[in-house]
């Protein structure tokens, strides 16, 4: 019930926010929403179930290409988005089954291999995927809305739906089983939890979320290309959920905001500095990566709870202050 109230409030806030923001901010909001689907899925997998995926960027690519193909055959956006979720669910099941008997590094390695393989699939079968150029995504935006506002509403609505479903999942029997498997596999199996099945299920659910995120990305960019889904994207998603905080879905939200905001902030910082053009172009792509990497290490060493962990610790301290 509480999650439903939160979701209704979030949806109302979304409608109000999109009406006030300018098109560029609306587009950024939509991008955050698309990332949020993927980071929320990854939080369930890593934070709730203790498995690591380095292939969520590749799963996003699968969702994105599905939307591109579906929109070419018919022009029904919601049907295409749903199909993208179905296709990535199947892909996630295949990888997840292979990973079912494996712990930690094996799933990470298998999904890493997936992340490297997906871009070369688009080059190998270039007659279908059109190689590096990628494919356009056909859209017919509604006449009554700005295209950016429409994108923000659709992506934001999808993200609210995902968050609502995942929040309920986390409080359900399945969520409890996932946490039990994360904390101690032996103890979980002794209490009758099917460890492998829970792990595969977590991976499949997580894949479906990533697929929806990728589908929304394709819908926002109105095109798909392998360059948009490099290995770095998978690492970014992981970084986002770790820095945001693996413990709760709210961490996924902070992570998604960070993914959109941080490159923007760094870009305006480097613009302020006076640099030679060659140096500027080297910094342009690499400085955000370096900052992400260093932050990731520092967070893991100093504050494993991430941003959300820090916030909730601060809140608790404020709560207890009058008594102490």
């Amino acid at each position: 019930m509480r999650t439903l109230l939160w979701s209704v409030a979030a949806a109302a806030g979304l409608v109000a926010a999109t009406a006030m923001l300018d098109p560029f901010r609306n587009y950024q909001l939509a991008t955050i929403a698309a990332y949020l689907c993927a980071t929320a899925g990854l939080t369930v997998l890593t934070g709730l179930n203790g498995q690591l995926s380095l292939g969520h960027g590749a799963l996003m690519a699968i969702g994105a290409y599905t939307v591109a193909f579906a929109q070419k055959s018919w022009d029904s956006l919601y049907l295409s988005l749903a199909l993208a979720v179905v296709v990535t669910t199947v892909a996630g099941a295949v990888v997840g089954l292979a990973a079912a008997r494996l712990r930690g590094p094996y799933l990470a390695g298998a999904t890493l291999a997936l992340a490297i393989a997906v871009p070369s699939i688009t080059i190998t079968f270039q007659s279908v995927f059109n190689s590096e150029q990628g494919l356009p995504v056909f859209l017919t935006p509604p006449r009554t809305l700005d295209i950016e506002r429409w994108q923000a509403l659709v992506a934001g609505g999808a993200a609210v739906l995902v968050m609502w479903l995942l929040a309920n999942l986390s409080r359900s029997h399945l969520g409890r089983r996932m946490r039990a498997v994360r904390d101690n596999e032996v103890a979980a199996s002794l209490t009758g939890v099917a460890v492998s099945r829970t792990q595969v299920l977590a991976f499949v659910i997580s894949s479906a979320c990533a697929g929806l995120g990728g589908a929304l990305m394709a819908f926002l960019a109105q095109s798909v290309s392998p360059g948009a889904f490099p290995l770095t994207l998978s690492l970014f998603l992981l970084m986002a959920v770790v820095i945001g905080g693996l413990g709760s879905l709210a961490g996924a939200l902070w992570g998604a905001v960070l993914l959109v905001a941080l490159p923007d902030v760094i870009h305006s910082l480097t613009e302020g500095m006076v640099l030679k053009p060659a140096m500027a172009s080297r910094l342009e792509g690499n400085l955000p990566l370096a900052i992400f990497g260093v932050t990731l290490i520092i967070v893991m060493l100093a504050a494993p709870g991430g941003l959300q962990g820090l916030f909730s610790r601060l809140l608790k301290r404020g709560h207890h202050a009058p008594n102490s």
């Binding site: 292979a98 930690g104 990470a108 070369s120 290995l231 690499n286 260093v294």
Partner: protein, 292 residues
């Protein structure tokens, strides 16, 4: 037939490099139960050090020595500076820290040298020598085999014949008992990281000239392939890693030769999935249980 022979030798040469790199992964796995996902990036950093030294002095061998020394120093730095302070409460933590290192190292190299491919020279000719009218392998391939063989033999000698090797195995197998018996467990762990990073750096030096050239991401695919090789071997077994690397080198060489080079990453992924589905304990794992 001629093409088959050429692909076989080319695959074995590549496979030797995968073996060396997989061996480095197995070393750290055995010592610390960590799959070092940063190994590719660390090896590329060492190769850039070699590039800088070679361009400054004009000597390939000084660069090679710089890569070896720099790689080992980086291994020590990563273990002493970062990994030692990572909480062991969940096995994921170290993997995540390693990925942070990947982002940092690759971005740092990109800022220093730019994200373009830089061609690197080889000390020996890469033209294939004809044996009975069939071009088989080049002088450089012979050098690759010799270098990898040296690494494998040195490591095997170290671990089986010296007291340092015994201490390293003891420290990995039973750290508490070893510490009571006077083994410097932390020091052995650092030594393990240094050796593994050194082997990885040599593997990078050997493989990068045969690919597109030096690039911050030059070892990404080599890492995935070598991880697959290590998994084929059982992740715990050094001989398994060597055999797995050679096998995978052959398979990928045939795939790339007959189907096109863009299929190679897909084949590596398919091979990994197949091994994980069919024989997750690997071909050479001694124990049945596989726990991270």
């Amino acid at each position: 037939m001629e093409r088959f022979a050429f692909l076989t030798f080319d695959g074995l040469a590549n496979g030797a490099v995968y073996s060396a790199f997989a061996l480095a992964l197995v070393l750290i796995w055995r010592a610390a139960r960590i799959v070092n996902f940063a190994q590719g990036a660390m090896a590329v950093a060492a190769a850039y050090a070699a590039y800088a030294v070679t361009s400054a002095t004009g000597s390939y061998w000084l660069g090679f020595a710089a890569a070896l020394a720099g790689g080992m120093a980086l291994g020590v730095l990563v273990e002493r500076g970062v990994m030692r302070f990572t909480s062991h409460s969940a096995p994921l933590n170290q993997v995540i820290v390693a990925l942070g290192l990947v982002l940092t190292i690759q971005a740092g190299l990109g800022m220093l040298y730019g994200n373009e491919f830089r061609p690197v020279g080889t000390p020996f000719s890469r033209d294939a020598i004809d044996v009975g009218g069939v071009p088989l392998l080049s002088q450089y391939d012979v050098f690759v085999f010799a270098a990898v063989l040296t690494i494998v033999l040195l490591l095997a000698l170290l671990f089986t014949k010296t007291s340092t090797g015994l201490r390293m195995r003891a420290a990995a197998f039973a750290p508490e008992v070893s510490r009571l018996l006077g083994v410097n467990v932390g020091g052995m762990l650092t030594l393990g990281w240094a050796l593994a990073a050194g082997a990885g750096a040599v593997a990078a030096m050997l493989v990068i000239p045969t690919e597109l050239g030096l690039h911050p991401h030059a070892m990404d695919l080599v890492f995935v392939t070598s991880f697959t090789a290590a998994v084929i071997g059982g992740l715990d077994s050094p001989p398994g890693a060597v055999v797995g690397g050679l096998l995978l080198g052959l398979v990928l060489s045939y795939v790339s030769g007959y189907l096109g080079s863009s299929v190679t990453p897909i084949a590596a992924f398919a091979a990994l999935l197949a091994v994980l589905l069919a024989r997750p304990q690997g071909l050479f794992a001694a124990s049945k249980a596989r726990q991270a």
